[in-house]
C-alpha cells in the first residue's frame, strides 16, 4: 500500500514539526505594552540597543493598557509598560506587579475636523471643549476599550459633568490608530496621545485643536510582574529592561526618538519633571 506509507510519513513529519522547538534558545522577555509605544515606532528604535547589551530577545505584545495589565496579572508576560497611573498603582497595590518606575511622558491632544463645527479650537480647557462637543452633538469617536486613553477620556467627561450619550458619540472598541482613522473618515473629534497623532497625522484629514493643559498630561510607567506570584516569569529580564530604560542611555534614546523633528516622548525617570510639554 503506497498510500499508507505516505500517510504514515506525513504523520511522522507532522509529529516532528510540532515537537521541534519553534524558536532558538535565546532567552525571551515578554513585554505587554500599549499600541502607542509600539506603533509610533518608539520600541523599534529602543529595543535593538537593549537586546544587544542584555542578550534578551524582547517579544512585544501591543494591546490597550487594560489588557496589558491583565496579561501581567495572569503572569502571561514578564513586564508591562503602560499609561494609566491610577490603574498602575492598583496593580502594584494588589501585588500583581513590583518595582514600578516612572519612565517618560507625553500628552493627550484633542483633534478634530479642520472646519471645527463645535468651535473648540479657541478653548484651552479640555473638559470645556468636550462639553462644547456634547452640546453641539458633533461626532466624537471614543476608543471604548480599557485603554489609558479611554480612561483619560472618561475622566475628562466627568470633569465636564457630561455623560456622553447619543448617536454623535461613537464607541468603537479599537486601537488609537483606528480611532484616528475613523475620526478622519467621519470628520469627528477624538482624544489621542500625541505620539500616535504625530505618527499618523500626515495620513489624516484632521487638525490638532486642544493641547497643553495639565489635565492632558500622559505619564508612562514600567512595572515588573511579581515573581512571588509567578516564580517562572522572567524577573531578571524584566528588571534588566527596567534598569536599561531608566538608565541615562535608555532615557537619552527615548528623548532622541523623533518623527519629522518632533519629539514623541519625554523621559522623566531621572529628573521627574511634572509639567506637560508645550
Amino acid at each position: 500500500m503506497r498510500l499508507s506509507r505516505i500517510s504514515l510519513m506525513l504523520l511522522l513529519a507532522a509529529t516532528f514539526v510540532l515537537l521541534s522547538p519553534a524558536q532558538a534558545e535565546q532567552k525571551v522577555l515578554r513585554l505587554a505594552t500599549t499600541t502607542s509605544t509600539e506603533n509610533s515606532g518608539l520600541l523599534k528604535s529602543l529595543l535593538p540597543a537593549f537586546e544587544k547589551s542584555s542578550g534578551y530577545k524582547v517579544h512585544v505584545i501591543a494591546v490597550g493598557t487594560g489588557k496589558a495589565l491583565r496579561m501581567g496579572q495572569d503572569g502571561d508576560v514578564d513586564v508591562v509598560m503602560v499609561h494609566a497611573r491610577t490603574d498602575e498603582d492598583k496593580f502594584v497595590a494588589a501585588g500583581y506587579g513590583i518595582n514600578r518606575r516612572d519612565l517618560m511622558y507625553n500628552d493627550f491632544v484633542i483633534v478634530g475636523p479642520k472646519r471645527d463645527p463645535a468651535g473648540i479650537g479657541a478653548v484651552k480647557d479640555p473638559a470645556a471643549a468636550l462639553a462644547r462637543i456634547a452640546a453641539k452633538e458633533a461626532a466624537f469617536i471614543s476608543r471604548g476599550d480599557e485603554s489609558g486613553t479611554y480612561k483619560k477620556e472618561q475622566a475628562l467627561w466627568q470633569a465636564a459633568d457630561t455623560r456622553p450619550q447619543g448617536k454623535w458619540y461613537r464607541s468603537i472598541g479599537q486601537g488609537m490608530e483606528q480611532a484616528l482613522q475613523i475620526a478622519s473618515e467621519m470628520q469627528g473629534y477624538t482624544l489621542a496621545d500625541r505620539g500616535t497623532w504625530l505618527a499618523l497625522r500626515n495620513k489624516l484629514d484632521l487638525d490638532l485643536l486642544v493641547q497643553g493643559d495639565n489635565r492632558l498630561f500622559n505619564p508612562y510607567g514600567v512595572i515588573a510582574v511579581n515573581p512571588a506570584r509567578y516564580p517562572d516569569v522572567n524577573y531578571q529580564g524584566a528588571m534588566a529592561f527596567i534598569a536599561w530604560l531608566t538608565s541615562p542611555e535608555g532615557q537619552d534614546q527615548i528623548a532622541a526618538f523623533k518623527i519629522d523633528g518632533d519629539s514623541l516622548f519625554f523621559p522623566d525617570a531621572i529628573q521627574a519633571k511634572q509639567a506637560a510639554p508645550k
Partner: protein, 233 residues
C-alpha cells in the same frame, strides 16, 4: 492620503521583488504555522470523518448535526478558548505556550479540524460503499479497507484539505489573540495586514494580500492538475 490602490499595488510588487526581509519573515511565519497545523489536523479529522460515515453507533446523527454546526463557530471564539486554556492561569498554563507559534498552530489545528470533519464526512458518505464492502469481503482488516476507501476518494479529500488550508492561512482572529502579533515571531500575513491597515500603511497590507492571492492561485492550479489526472484514469 494620496495613496491610491494602484500606487499601493506597485509599491507592493516592489517590496515583494526586492526581498524585503520583514515581509518575507511574515510570509515565512504564515506558512510555517499553517503547514504544521494542516499536517497535524487533517489526518486525524479524516479518520474521525470516516468513523462517522462508516461506523454505526447510537447518537450518530445528532453528532453529525453538532459537527456541522461547529463549522460556524467564529474563529475569535476558538482563539478565546485556546487563550484561556494556554494562559498561565489556564488548564495548560504550565506549558508556557501563550504568545508562541505553537499556540497559533494549536488554534489553527482546531479550526482546520472543525472544518475538515464535516466536509470529509460529506465526501466519504456520498461515496459508493461497495469499495468498503469489497475490501472487507476480500479479507482486508478494517483499517486496510479504510485506506482503500480513502485512496479511492483522495481527490475529494485533498480538495477538502486545501480548502481547510486556505481557511487557516487567511484566518486573523485566533492568530492575533493567541499569537500576540509579535514582530518576526508570531506576526503572520493576516495579523500583519490588520496592523498595517490600522497604521494606515496600506501598501504593506496590499503586498501581503497579494502574496495570499498568489498562494490561492497556486493552490487552485495544483488542485486542478490533480483533478485532471484523476479524470484521465
Amino acid at each position: 492620503m494620496e495613496e491610491n490602490l494602484g500606487h499601493a499595488s506597485l509599491y507592493a510588487l516592489r517590496l515583494l521583488l526586492s526581498g524585503d526581509p520583514d515581509l518575507w519573515n511574515i510570509i515565512g511565519v504564515s506558512f510555517s504555522v499553517s503547514v504544521r497545523a494542516i499536517l497535524i489536523s487533517t489526518p486525524l479529522a479524516v479518520v474521525l470523518a470516516f468513523l462517522i460515515a462508516y461506523a454505526r453507533f447510537p447518537a450518530r446523527h445528532p453528532l453529525i448535526a453538532v459537527l456541522q454546526s461547529l463549522q460556524s463557530i467564529p474563529t475569535v471564539v476558538v482563539g478565546l478558548l485556546v487563550y484561556m486554556l494556554l494562559s498561565r492561569r489556564g488548564l495548560f498554563g504550565d506549558l508556557h505556550l501563550l504568545f508562541t507559534q505553537t499556540a497559533m498552530v494549536i488554534g489553527q489545528i482546531v479550526i482546520a479540524f472543525l472544518f475538515v470533519v464535516p466536509m470529509a464526512h460529506g465526501v466519504l458518505a456520498a461515496a459508493d460503499r461497495r469499495a468498503w464492502e469489497t475490501a472487507r469481503t476480500l479479507g482486508a482488516a478494517p483499517w486496510r479497507a479504510m485506506l482503500t476507501v480513502m485512496t479511492e476518494l483522495r481527490f475529494g479529500l485533498l480538495a477538502v484539505a486545501i480548502a481547510a488550508f486556505a481557511r487557516i492561512i487567511t484566518e486573523v482572529g485566533t492568530s492575533i489573540m493567541v499569537g500576540g502579533n509579535i514582530e518576526s515571531f508570531t506576526r503572520n500575513i493576516p495579523t500583519a495586514i490588520a496592523l498595517e491597515t490600522s497604521k494606515g500603511e496600506f501598501a504593506q497590507g496590499i503586498a501581503l494580500g497579494l502574496v495570499l492571492l498568489v498562494l490561492a492561485l497556486l493552490l487552485n492550479v495544483f488542485l486542478g492538475m490533480l483533478q485532471g489526472k484523476g479524470e484521465m484514469r
